[in-house]
Symmetry: D2
Subunit: 397 residues, 4 copies
C-alpha cells in the first residue's frame, strides 16, 4: 500500500490550490456581495469568463477528463473550497457527467456536435431525469415518454431539478425518457440528446434549494410537449438509459464526494479560525464545552471519509464501475453527511453570522444537504450497499 499521491497529481493539486487562492478567491469575495431578497443575475460575470481563459492557459482545464480518478480526487477536493472553481476549471456538474457519457457512449457525430464545444467551454448542458409527479428515487418510475416514430423520437412529459438549464450557454439536455414500457424494467428507458431550442421544450420555472437558486446554472422545471428529435439523438440506442447511468455516475460521485470533503475542510478551517479569535466567559470559544471534541470528531470523519473516497476512486480505476458499485454508493452516503455535520458545527461556532450571507457556511450547508438527495437519496444507496453486503457476506471470510 502506498498512500502518497503521484507526482503529477501532487503538482496539479498544488497549482489548482494556488490558482484558487490567488485568482478565484478574490473574485468570489467580490461577487458574493449580492444580498438575499435582491433579484439574482443569470449571466456569467466577465471576471469569471476571464478566470476560465486564465485557467485554460495554465493547463488547469478539463482535468477530470485527463486524469485517473485517483489522481483527480485531490483536485476535486481543492475545488470544493470554492463555489466558482469547478466552473472555472470546466469541471462542473452536470457538464462533466454529460461529457463522460458522450465520450464513452457517443457516436462521432454526437461528439463533434456536443462533446467538442463542451470540452471547449463554449456551450453548457443540462441533465433531465427527476420528475415532479413520481418518487424519482426509483428511476424506473420515470414517466416522460420518448417514443420512436419513424426516424424521430418524440418526448412528452415534465422534468424538474434539471440542473444547468438556467445557464445562458446551455444548449442541450440529456433527457431520460420511457421508450418501451413492456421491456425489462432496466431496459425501458432511453437517454436522448435534446437541443434546448427544440420546439416544445419549455423551462417553466427555476427552483430554489433552501432559498438558493445556484445561478447562473440553476435547477429548472422543464416541460416537453411533442418534442421531436432524430432517432440518432438517442445515446447508445433505445433502452440503454440504465446502462449509461451506471457507467456515468461513478466518477461524478467521486468528484461530488471529494468536493464535499473540500467544503468540510473549509468549514473546519473557518471554525478553528473563528473559535480561536472570539472570546466568551473569559476563554476562546473553541475552548468552551465540547467544541474541541467536535474539532477532533470532524478531523476523524473528514480523514476517514477522504480515504474511503480515494479508495473508491482507485477501485473505479483498477476494476471499473461494476467492481466499485458498493464503494461508490458508500461515498455517496458518507461524504455529504460528514460535510453537513462539520458545516453545522462551523455555523454554531459562528453564531448568527454563520447563518447569514456574510460567511459561505449557509450555502455550503445547503449544498451538502442537497447532495443527500440528488443522484439518489441516502436511503437508496444504503439499500444498494446492504443488498451487496447480504449477497456477499457468505464469502466474506
Amino acid at each position: 500500500m502506498d498512500f502518497s499521491p503521484s507526482a503529477r497529481a501532487a503538482e496539479l493539486t498544488g497549482a489548482v490550490r494556488d490558482f484558487i487562492d490567488a485568482e478565484i478567491a478574490p473574485v468570489e469575495r467580490a461577487l458574493h456581495g449580492a444580498r438575499a431578497g435582491e433579484p439574482v443575475s443569470w449571466q456569467v460575470p466577465d471576471e469569471v469568463r476571464a478566470l476560465q481563459r486564465q485557467a485554460r492557459e495554465r493547463g488547469l482545464w478539463n482535468l477530470f477528463a485527463e486524469l485517473s480518478n485517483v489522481d483527480y480526487a485531490p483536485i476535486a477536493e481543492a475545488t470544493g473550497w470554492s463555489f466558482l472553481a469547478p466552473y472555472v476549471f470546466n469541471c462542473n456538474a452536470p457538464d462533466t457527467g454529460n461529457m463522460e457519457v458522450l465520450e464513452k457512449y457517443g457516436t462521432p457525430e454526437q461528439k463533434d456536435r456536443w462533446l467538442t464545444p463542451l470540452l471547449d467551454g463554449t456551450i453548457r448542458s443540462g441533465f433531465a431525469m427527476t420528475e415532479p409527479a413520481v418518487a424519482s428515487s426509483d428511476a424506473t418510475n420515470m414517466q416522460l415518454t420518448a417514443v420512436l416514430d419513424g426516424d424521430e423520437v418524440v418526448l412528452d412529459g415534465r422534468k424538474w431539478w434539471t440542473t444547468g438549464v438556467g445557464h445562458p450557454d446551455c444548449r442541450v439536455l440529456i433527457v431520460m425518457g420511457l421508450t418501451d414500457p413492456d421491456a425489462h424494467r432496466h431496459a425501458r428507458h432511453s437517454m436522448v440528446l435534446v437541443p434546448i431550442d427544440t420546439p416544445g421544450v419549455k423551462v417553466e420555472r427555476m427552483l430554489d434549494t433552501m432559498g438558493f437558486l445556484d445561478e447562473p446554472f440553476g435547477h429548472g422545471e422543464v416541460s416537453f410537449t411533442g418534442v421531436r428529435v432524430p432517432v440518432a439523438n438517442i445515446i447508445a440506442g433505445p433502452g440503454q438509459a440504465f446502462a449509461i447511468a451506471q457507467g456515468r455516475l461513478g466518477p461524478g460521485r467521486v468528484h461530488h464526494a471529494m468536493r464535499m470533503i473540500g467544503l468540510a475542510e473549509r468549514a473546519l478551517h473557518l471554525a478553528c479560525e473563528r473559535g480561536l479569535a472570539r472570546t466568551a466567559f473569559g476563554k476562546p470559544i473553541m475552548n468552551l464545552g465540547g467544541n474541541r471534541e467536535r474539532v477532533a470528531d470532524a478531523r476523524i470523519a473528514i480523514n476517514s471519509t477522504r480515504l474511503l473516497i480515494q479508495h473508491a476512486a482507485w477501485k473505479l480505476d483498477t476494476g471499473g464501475p461494476m467492481a466499485a458499485l458498493s464503494e461508490v454508493s458508500q461515498i455517496k452516503v458518507a461524504a455529504p453527511n460528514v460535510a453537513q455535520q462539520v458545516i453545522d458545527f462551523a455555523i454554531q461556532i459562528h453564531g448568527g453570522a454563520g447563518l447569514s450571507s456574510d460567511f459561505p457556511l449557509a450555502s455550503a450547508w445547503t449544498a451538502a444537504r442537497a447532495v443527500r438527495i440528488a443522484d439518489g437519496p441516502d436511503e437508496v444507496h444504503r439499500g444498494l450497499i446492504a443488498r451487496l453486503e447480504l449477497t456477499n457476506h457468505g464469502a466474506a471470510r
Copy 2:
C-alpha cells in the same frame, strides 16, 4: 398528576386551530407564491391586517398575556403550524417578550406610550442585544455604551440580529447597553427604550438566515451614533439589564419551544402524507428502509419534548423564573433540536421538493436551526444546566 388541559385552554386551543385552518392557511398559501431570487416586500399585506382584525373580534388576541404559561402552551404549539399565525394573534416575537418586559418592569408612562399600542397591535418593536464584533453568547461581552449624561442616556455602538426592525410599524427598540463597566459583571448593562426615529439610529442592512429574510419583520444590523434619549427610558433603572433578561426570557422560551413542537408536528404530518402517497420500488416510500422507525423516533421525541415544555411552563407558573432556570434552558436546547431532526426527515421523504419553496419545510428547518443560536446557543444553555446539576447533585437523593 393530571395531564388534561384546563377547559379554557382546551377551548381556546380548538378555536385557534380552527381559525388557522379555516382563515389563515388559505392566505398563507396564496402569499407563499413569492419566489426565491425575486425582490421581497417589507409591507404587511392587507389580507394579513384583515386576519388580525378578525382574530381580535373572535377573542384570539394577546392570549399570551392573558393565560398562564401552561394554558398558553398548547396555543403556542398550534400557532407553530403557521408562519403567519403568531402575528395574526398578536403573539409574535420579539413583541411578546417586549410587552412582558414593559408589563413587569415598565413605569406607567412607559406602559402608556409603548405597551398599550403594542397590545393594540398598532405599533411593533425590536430587541437589540447581539453585537457583530463580539461573541454575544456571553451577554457580558456587549460593548455598545449606554452612558448617563445628566438626564439623558447616550448610546453608541452597533447591534445586529435586531429582530423586528424591518417591520413598517416598528416604532421602538429595547437596546441593551453598557452603563457601568466597573460594576459587578451582571450589573453593568441597562435596557433602554429607543424610539426608532431618534437621530443617530440607522438600520444599516437587513440580514438573511440561510437565504430567508423573514420579512416583514426581518433581522437588522443597526448602528447607534450619539443617540440620546431621556434617562426615564431606561427600564427598571441603570444596571438592571440582566435581571430583566432573566425575567423576560422564561415565558418567551416556552412560546418558542412550543412553536417548535407545532412545526415538528406539521413536518411529521407532511412526511406521513407524502410517504404514504408516493411509491418507489413497488411500495409506499414510507415502508422502505428505516422510514417507519424514523416516524416512531419522531413521535417519541415530539411527545417527550412537549411534556418537557409543559412541565417547564408549569414550574414557571407555580415557582417563578428562578425556580425554573434549568427547565427553561432544557427546553431551549431540546425543542429546536427535535424540530430540526423531524423536519430533516420530512425533507428527505419529500426528496428535491422538500428543499424547494413548494413546501414549507426548508423555511421550517431554517427557523429551527436559527433557534439553536438565537437567545443563547445550545452550548450556553447546556453549560447552565450542567452547572445547576453539579451544584445540586449532592441533594439529588
Copy 3:
C-alpha cells in the same frame, strides 16, 4: 395540568427512598462482594428475607398492586436505584406481571392457589414465552404446543429466557403455548399455569446476560416434554394468550421504564460525584472536554423521558391499555436507551473502575441493554408506534 404528585404518592415515595438508603443500601453493598469468576449462589440471603419482613411491616409491600400507575411510577423510579429493592418490596418482575394476570384473568381457584402466596411473597413464579428456535420478537412464531386432550392440556417444546426460574421459591410458570394453529393468528396461543414440579418440566441451564446471571432469579432454558396439567390451568381459556399479554404488559412496562429512570439518575449521580472528585490535567475531570455537555444532555433526556412515562401511566389509568398502546411502546423504546446512554457516560467518567464490579455501573448498563430486547425489541415497538401514527395522522390536526 398539574405535575405535582398526589399526597399519598409523595409520602410513600419518600418512605421507599428512606428505606432503600437506610436499610437496603448497606445490605446491597455487603452482598456485592461476590467476584466475577467465583461460583454464584442461587439462595436468598437471610439479610434479604429480613428486609422483606421489615418492608412489609412498614407498609411498603405490594405497592404496585395498591396504587394507580401514576402514583406507583415515582416509587418504581426509587426502586431502580437498587438491584435488591424491587424484590424486597415484592414488586419485582416477572412476579408483578404474573400477579396482575392472575388478578385480572384468574379464576377464584387460580387466585387462591397462586395469587395469594405470590402476594404473600411465599412463592415466586416464572414467565415462559421466548423460544430458542424462532425469532420470538414475533410472538405468533411461538411453537411450543399446548394441546387440549380431554380435561388436560399437554405441553411440548422448549422455552428460554424464562426469568425467575432459578429462584428457590419458584413454584409455577405461566407458559405460552400453541393450541390451535388454524385459528386467527392472535387466537392460536394459550397461557397455561404449570407447577414447576410437573413431570416433564426440566430447567436445562441458566443463561447469562453479558456475564451476569441475575441470581437468585436468573433466566432459564426450560424444556417441556409431555407435560400435562388440567385444562383449568389455562388462564382465561384457550386462545386468549394475546389478549392477556396486551392487558398484562402496560403496567409492567411503566415499572420497567421508571426503574430505568432510577438507574439513569443513579448513574448520573455517580458520574457527577466522581467527575468532581478526580482531577486530571489540572482540573476536575467533569470540567474537561464535553463532559458538562453530557451532564446537560443526560438531564434533558432523563427529565423528558420520565415525563413521557408518567404521561403513559396517566393514560393507562384514565383510558386503559388500548388507549395507551403507542404511549406504552414509546416508553419501552425511550427508557432503556436513555438509561444506556447515561450509564455509558458514567462508565467513561469512572475509567476502568466503571467497567469493574467495584461500581454498579457495568451491571446497570447490562440491565438497560437487556431491556432493549426483553418484552419485544426496540424495533418491534418502533414498528407499532409507526403503524398507529400512520393510521392516525390524517386525524392529527
Copy 4:
C-alpha cells in the same frame, strides 16, 4: 496511491486466516463451553499450547515484529476474528508492546533476559501503569514511587488494570513510577523492569470487565511495597517513561484498532447470517425496519475506519511516531466506537441470544467498550487531535 497489499502481506494474511478457520476456531468453540457463574481457570489449556507450536512451525509467529505496520495491519485484523489467535501467534497485548519497548530501548542484558524468552513465548509479561487512586487518563498523575537508592530503585505504591498478570507464565512487569517529582512533568517518571517474584510485589486481586476476567491473562490490582530492583532495570534511564510510552504506543494502537475491525467484521457477518436465517412477521428479520440501513452504515463505518488505520500505519512506517501522533489518536478513538456500534447491532439482531454466552458478541462488545478507556480514554485522544488541529489549521490551506 496504491491500495493493494504487498505480496507478502497478502500471502501471510491468507495463511493466518486459513489457520484461524481450520485450527483455532474449533479449539475456541470447544473451550468456550465454560459458563458464567462457574469458577474460571487461569491455566493455559494444552490445546492452546499445541496451537502455538503449530503456528510457529508454519512461520506464523511474531509477525508483528517482522513486518511493517502496513503489512501487519491486515494480519491484525484477521486475528481480531478470534479471541485466542493473538496469543497463538505470539502477537498479543501487552506482550507485543513490551517486546517493542525492549527491542527499541532495552540494553543487551535486558534483551537477553526478557526479550528473547518473550519472543520465544516461554514467558509472559505485564504492563503496570494505571493506578486506582488517581485519574490515570493524565499519566503525569501516577503516584507509585520509583526512587533511586544507590544502585537500586525502590518501588512503593499500587497499580491496577495490570494486564497479563494472571498468566501462569508471567515473569516480569514493566512498571511506571515517579522518580523525580521536581522535574519537567514529562521527565518525572521511569519505566522499571520488575520480576514478578521480587519481594514486595503482590497481586491483590483480579479485576473483571463487565463480568469478564479475560483469563488466563487477566487484569490485576498489584501492590508494590518496598520493592527493590537494580538500577539497571530502568529502561532507557530514569525519567524516560514518557518518551518510551510515546514510542511504544503507535504500533500497538494499530494492532488494537485492526483487531477491532476484525471484531466488527465478524459481528457484521454474524448479524447477516442470523438476520437472513430467522423470520418474523413473514420476512427475514434483516428485511424488517431499518436493519438493512444499519448493515449499510456498518459497512461504511468499517471500511472507512479500516482505511484510516491503514493510513496511520503507513504514516508510522514512513514518518515515524512523531509524524503520526494525530493519526494514531484518531484510530484510537474511531476503531472501538465503530466496533461497539456494529456489535451492538449484531446483538440486537440476535435478540436474547446475542447477550448470552452462546455467541461471542457479548464479550466482543465488552472488549470494544474497554478499548474506549484503556490506553487513554476517547476524551484524552480527542483532546490531542484537537490540539494538533488548532495548532496547524493556519497552515492547512
